[in-house]
C-alpha cells in the first residue's frame, strides 16, 4: 500500500515557489524530513543477517549515504532497531527490553525470515515464531539473509512510511500512550505470555496507522 502524500501544501504551488528559491514547508514535512534522513540504527545483531547488515554499512553498499551510518551502541541514542537474525525464546525478553529503552519516535525493521516468522528454524523449541508477537514492526524484509541492497530497499520503504506520517495521528503522541511493551518471562516450556495480545493477533498482521 503506497503511503498517501499528506502534506497540506499542494505540490505544484510548492514546486514553482521552489523554482524562485523560496522553500515552502509545513512543520509536518520538516518533522518528517528530519526523522527520515537521519535514522540511526542500534548496533544490535543476532545472527547471520547481522553480518549482512554490517556488509551494508561497509564500502560497497554504504548505508551512511542515507544518513543512517552512525550505528549507536546504546539504545538511548538509536531510533531504528534492525532485528537481524533469529530471535530465540531466551533472547526475546532482552529484545523487548531494548525496544522499550529506545526513545520514542522509534521504528523496527525485521530483517530476514527468522525475525519475521522464525524462518527455517520455525519448529525449533527455543525459537520465537517472529518478533512481532511482542513489539510492533514497521517493515518486514524477507530473505535468508536478504541482500544488502534489499536492506537498503527496506530502509527506503521505511523512509517512505515516515514521510507519510502526520504528527497528530502518530502513535506516540496519542493520549493513553501504551508504548511500554510488557517483557515476557521464562516459563517451564516456553515464554509466558506466548504473545502480547494487544500487539499481535494470530494470522492477521497489525496495520500501523500511517495516514
Amino acid at each position: 500500500m503506497t503511503t498517501p502524500n499528506t502534506s497540506q501544501v499542494d505540490p505544484n504551488l510548492k514546486s514553482e515557489m521552489q523554482k524562485k528559491g523560496i522553500f515552502v514547508t509545513t512543520i509536518n514535512d520538516l518533522y518528517n524530513w528530519g526523522r527520515r534522513s537521519s535514522v540511526w540504527p542500534l548496533q544490535f545483531g543476532l545472527a547471520c543477517c547481522a553480518i549482512e547488515m554490517i556488509a551494508t554499512a561497509c564500502a560497497r553498499y554504504d548505508i551512511d549515504r542515507f544518513g543512517a551510518g552512525l550505528f549507536r551502541p546504546s539504545p538511548r541514542q538509536a531510533d531504528l532497531m534492525i532485528v537481524a537474525g533469529t530471535v530465540t525464546k531466551k533472547m526475546a525478553p532482552q529484545v523487548v527490553r531494548l525496544y522499550n529503552q529506545m526513545p520514542e519516535p522509534k521504528y523496527c525493521i525485521t530483517m530476514g525470515a527468522c525475525s519475521i516468522s522464525g524462518g527455517p528454524f520455525k519448529n525449533g523449541y527455543n525459537v520465537l515464531k517472529g518478533i512481532d508477537r511482542y513489539i510492533p514492526v514497521d517493515v518486514h524484509l524477507p530473505g535468508c539473509p536478504p541482500r544488502p541492497e534489499a536492506l537498503l530497499h527496506g530502509l527506503i520503504k521505511l523512509q517512505e512510511k515516515i514521510d507519510g506520517q502526520v504528527i497528530e495521528k502518530t502513535e506516540w503522541y496519542q493520549k493513553g500512550l501504551k508504548r511500554e511493551f510488557p517483557v515476557p518471562e521464562f516459563g517451564p516450556n516456553g515464554l509466558i505470555p506466548p504473545y502480547n495480545p494487544d500487539v499481535f493477533t494470530p494470522g492477521q498482521s497489525r496495520l500501523i496507522t500511517t495516514g
Binding site: K89, K90, N123, G124, Y125, N126, K129, F186, G187, P188, N189, G190, P194, Y195
Partner: protein
C-alpha cells in the same frame, strides 16, 4: 592406531577389575570404572590420549549413552571412540572434567539437552536453555510447546 583389541588387552592387564566390550569399532566401558580408565588412557606412555575432541549424548529407547572421541596429539593417534551407558530415568555418569578440561562445557550441554547427570562436574548447570526450563529437549519423547 595399533589396534583396538591390543588396547583392550593392555587395559585389562593394567586394571583387572575393568569389563570392557568391543562393539563395531568402539570401546564400551561400564560407568562405575570409567574415571579410572580415563586416567589410564591419559597418563599411559603407550597411548597418552591427551586430547578429548568431543563428548556427545545420545538417547536410545532403552538407555542414555555418552560417546567420547579421544585423540593423542603427541603420537598423532586417530579417534578412539569410548561409549558409557546409563539408564534413561536416573542417568548418572562420572564426569571426566578433572581429567580433560574440554569436557566441561560439553558435559553441561549433554546434561542440559539430554538429562545425563555427570557426577563430580565442577559446575553442572544448564548451558543452552534458561534455568527454569523443565525438560530435556533432545530426548525423543519431548513435545515442544506449540504457540
Amino acid at each position: 592406531m595399533k589396534s583396538l583389541e591390543e588396547l583392550k588387552q593392555n587395559l585389562e592387564s593394567k586394571m583387572p577389575g575393568v569389563t570392557s566390550v568391543l562393539e563395531e569399532g568402539c570401546l564400551v566401558i561400564s560407568k562405575n570404572d570409567w574415571l579410572e580408565v580415563a586416567k589410564f588412557l591419559k597418563s599411559s606412555p603407550l597411548y597418552s590420549f591427551d586430547y578429548l575432541s568431543s563428548v556427545t549424548g545420545v538417547d536410545y529407547p532403552d538407555r542414555l549413552e555418552a560417546v567420547y572421541h579421544l585423540y593423542s596429539i603427541e603420537k598423532k593417534i586417530g579417534p578412539l571412540t569410548v561409549k558409557v551407558r546409563t539408564d534413561r530415568q536416573k542417568g548418572e555418569i562420572p564426569s571426566v572434567t578433572p581429567v580433560w578440561r574440554s569436557a566441561e562445557f560439553q558435559e553441561r550441554e549433554a546434561f542440559d539437552l539430554l538429562g545425563i547427570h555427570f557426577t563430580g562436574h565442577p559446575d553442572l548447570r544448564r548451558i543452552l536453555m534458561w534455568e527454569g526450563f523443565a525438560f530435556h529437549p533432545l530426548r525423543k519423547d519431548y513435545v515442544a510447546e506449540n504457540d
